[in-house]
Symmetry: D2
Subunit: 167 residues, 4 copies
Amino acid sequence: MNKRKIIAVSGSNGNDRNLDERILEKAERTGFLIAERGGILVCGGLGGVMEASARGAKKAGGITVGILPWKKEAANPYIDIPLATNLGFYRNTLIANCADCMIAICGRWGTLNEISMSVSINKPTVVITGTAGVSDILSGKDLLRKMRKKPLFVKTPEEAVEAAFSF
Amino acid sequence: MNKRKIIAVSGSNGNDRNLDERILEKAERTGFLIAERGGILVCGGLGGVMEASARGAKKAGGITVGILPWKKEAANPYIDIPLATNLGFYRNTLIANCADCMIAICGRWGTLNEISMSVSINKPTVVITGTAGVSDILSGKDLLRKMRKKPLFVKTPEEAVEAAFSF
Amino acid sequence: MNKRKIIAVSGSNGNDRNLDERILEKAERTGFLIAERGGILVCGGLGGVMEASARGAKKAGGITVGILPWKKEAANPYIDIPLATNLGFYRNTLIANCADCMIAICGRWGTLNEISMSVSINKPTVVITGTAGVSDILSGKDLLRKMRKKPLFVKTPEEAVEAAFSF
Amino acid sequence: MNKRKIIAVSGSNGNDRNLDERILEKAERTGFLIAERGGILVCGGLGGVMEASARGAKKAGGITVGILPWKKEAANPYIDIPLATNLGFYRNTLIANCADCMIAICGRWGTLNEISMSVSINKPTVVITGTAGVSDILSGKDLLRKMRKKPLFVKTPEEAVEAAFSF
């Protein structure tokens, strides 16, 4: 069996006004580190965090898979394997299922959908805080104290990828 | 075309320790009111909030549909139409898609998954606060202030069902 | 648990030129007999065989569920519970999974997709011959002799429904 | 956008007694030719035709994607990217959707399910005859004469791959 880890990066599409260069750099750095360690990057294949992380993975010579909601043509230019699922938003659940671990950056309701699925099915789930959006909302002080299962909150791409490969 | 509204009730399964009689009564009341107004109740078909809401709907003579993850045999006794999807957790997304509106009560990561899908696809989504779990977490003061799309937070089954039928 | 059998009727949409009044009467008769015996009719919710079978079920006072590919508005007028899956053609597989038994009438590639799924997952699958389309193609003399698993071929709605309830 | 063609190979799992060395060689040859022309091979990731075609693609230095029904561990050793969908048999439909073209070899009901989906959604679909199973059944003289849409029947891997890249 193939031993390479499959790591999903979940996060905002390019039209999220919360995104800025600093956040996208973290996404790119995350993708770079995943690929550098031999991981296969899986993401939703579109813009924003998905594109930045895929760009990072390609800079490190990695392989990138885009699990697209509809057409292949919507894939960002850094996706090696654009899979046109025709599953629409159901593809969020597919991303969570086919990854060994998920790393979330920024994000809105779609990212929350992916994080919640990933935690539901007991996949290791890492959230990079300081990236705005649902990633910061979920990390609010004691917000999840009553939840038995929780994502891991980390502050940097380095910590996120280190955690992803240590599970 | 069939004009009856299809209302999803999303919430914890029976093994959630957050559930108590008071919350289950709210779930039952919600199901009752949905059916009383002629709505079709859709839920995940299992225990806890799902069972209580289906029981309520049957007390009002309504129709209940259970979108089950796996086997039909897992349906609670108040489900008229147990649909064994074999979709596992993907069925959360199916519940959000096939309903005209979603009402959430209590809940954990699975319920958060359904709420986030429902909001993502622009379905009217109502959360009953004071029911513990993710329903109370999401309603935290100003928590979602930076999210453009939000569920509607209400305090009672009456308000929830009134809202569900007014969209 | 709900003890009513869920029977899927699979067959051509209304634009199939193979369909004629005689075939649609068989579909209607099939739906009628399913409902008369207390079964819940599940189908794809659209026109042609789906509509005729749902009309038959309603004439017998039964319950009809339409597993629609996209919008609820596309449901035929005889569907009590129109479920807008947004699964597109994946909904064929959902129909096969959620039924206890499938009955096929006429049909093209979509029906063949449903029949083949139903047989794949070991659901009892009945094909009414003499209804043109893939139902007649599959029943060709000895065509499936080398297949270990086969649908049951019958000549009338009465035989089909009798078989569906005897599994 | 990524310009590499994604070609699905659909066919029997390893426990199909119809499979013999000659058929598996055709599957391997098909995978080899797909990769040689720069295509990405997608398949169901398991044994038999899936494994042989993936082995062929790897011999030509290609990339192979396995769309697995459940666990990643079930992937054959020639799969670079094993995607554990947890979609069970729904993954057949995913394979048809994410490929630009499908090539079928031998096969039973699952392969027929994939062929029928591929034709339903108007994907170019090529069946290699002389490989037993449903591939030979469908190619029977005049069997599909009344079907408006048909797969293309060819006799060799060379013709199949030539056709797949010419659509």
